[in-house]
Amino acid sequence: MAKFSTLTQDQTRSIKLLGLPLIYALLLLAVPLGSIVLFSFWTQDFMTVDTTFTTANYREIWDSPIYSLLLRRSLMVSGIVTAVTVLLAYPVAYFISFHVHPSKKSIWLFLITIPFWTSYLIRVFLWKVILGYNGVINSGLLQLGIIDEPLTFILYNVNAVIITLAHAFAPFAILPIFVVLEKIDRSLLEASQDLGETKFSTFLRVTLPLSMPGVVGAVLIVFIPTIGDYVTPELMGGAGGKLIANMIQTQFLQLNNAPLGAALAIVAMICVTAISLIFVFLNRKYLRGRT
């Protein structure tokens, strides 16, 4: 480890430059995050906050079934959304990396990212139009005579939330996988086939393990943020499709119980982080087991 006195001029300059964004992130991220941790150990006493240290909020979350139900449902929805998104995205990333001419790759990526940048609220609402009682799918199926009555299991429940979130996070899953696939040395694949592997077994034994870091990146970048979305469950979920983020939002903005809301946010974060770490660990073990 280098000592401060031995820093080169270039290093000092680099530290100074990084200082500004670091201070910003410290003030607007680290300090606020620290303050919600502190808040979660306080309690709301009607209009004022009682600042005696207590674990009452956490005990309440542990004891009342509604919070654990919402949390379990949230984790399940995030898990399914992640699995669906990554599984659907992998072939697309593979196609762009291996089958698209290099000069056309960025136009494909551009086409995939455009829907992601367009008004999130309106995009979620449009899924209501597609999945609704007299929406696109139902009226289409009715007209074709496939069904006699509109399908109702596709709106205002957990299914609708999963479909909408999987759509919203699709580009997030493609990009990390694509980046890793691009780095794979193509001669390895040739070597594998020269040694008698079929195309499919080459994929299973060479391409897939080498692309695992990208898959892990995709899983994390979809799984972690989806837990914090309250727009989709609010619009699409109906009564039975509400998630933990809706409860956090309600505690803060309607029930005016910031300490309980803070505790819920922290519990949700801890669960997500723990599951992510377990996933990363298992993946490392799997990759090590192969080499």
Partner: protein, 266 residues
């Protein structure tokens, strides 16, 4: 071939909701459902008369422009530092600055709400949203500008220094023009993110709502839905134009700095 068909089907899935927007924006019916009834531009003319919407759009534009400028400045500092020599702890610091990229937005929102309202007792307004948006847009700016700086040949700036320019003027005259396309691209991306951001804005908005917060309010009234479709059509068209410009500049930046394009914003 099978993969190509799959990829095209996937693109259709991605674009399915967006394609519906203009269809219903020009549809002469108050219910957003099939079958369509007729062509009208009524919903667009209604947009021009809604003063509450105009105020919200104006708010959002102010927020988005400020966010674009500040996030890009912070991104420039970080990306420039990233291109310089490593020092102990640099990776950790950069990782921390990039953290909002993976942090659930609701966590950022509640954390800022607690510190601003409950701890500091400040009132909310456009500036609170700007602060939060700068925080979440900076990682995107850094990612784009890293591409611009990473492709840069450090010998060019050194040459300017050897020829007697000061450090600042060498940066201004040589490096800055080379990374300018990256800067423009970063500002456009930050602008687009901020203009569309709802989850944080809903928590931190003061008495004057931003455009997404205003739209959220409208979504509860079935009568206003066709107008939202019209507004959405304009927004989608606008973001496609902005993103296309951003992409052109990003590519030009990578090319100008002598790198090869690897594609993608992230």
């Amino acid at each position: 071939m099978k993969l190509l068909i799959y990829a095209i089907a996937y693109l259709i899935f991605l674009y399915a909701p967006i394609i519906l927007l203009p269809i219903f924006a020009f549809n002469d019916a108050t219910i957003i459902a099939f079958p369509l009834s007729g062509f009208t531009t009524e919903w667009f003319s209604e947009l021009t008369q809604n003063s509450a919407l105009h105020a919200a759009v104006q708010n959002s534009l102010i927020i988005a422009v400020c966010t674009a400028i500040f996030a890009t400045i912070l991104g420039l500092c970080a990306a420039r530092a990233g291109a310089m020599s490593d020092f102990p702890g640099k990776k950790g610091i950069t990782g921390f600055i990039m953290l909002p990229l993976v942090l659930p937005e609701i966590i950022v929102a509640v954390a800022l709400l607690v510190i601003l309202r409950q701890v500091l007792g400040l009132s909310l307004g456009n500036w609170t949203i700007i602060m939060a948006h700068v925080l979440i847009c900076t990682p995107f700016s850094i990612a784009i500008l890293n591409g611009a700086f990473g492709a840069l040949d450090p010998a060019m700036e050194e040459a300017a220094l050897d020829l007697g320019e000061s450090r600042w003027s060498a940066f201004r005259l040589v490096t800055l023009p080379l990374v300018m396309p990256g800067i423009i691209s970063s500002m456009l991306i930050a602008f687009t993110i901020s203009l569309d951001e709802f989850i944080i804005a809903f928590f931190l908005t003061g008495s004057n709502p931003t455009m997404p917060v205003y739209i959220w309010g409208l979504l509860r009234f079935p009568k206003s839905l066709p107008v939202i479709m019209a507004l959405g059509t304009i927004l989608v068209a606008l973001s496609v134009v902005l993103l296309t410009i951003a992409e052109i500049f990003r590519r030009r930046g990578v090319r100008r700095a002598g790198g090869t394009d690897t594609g993608g914003f992230l």
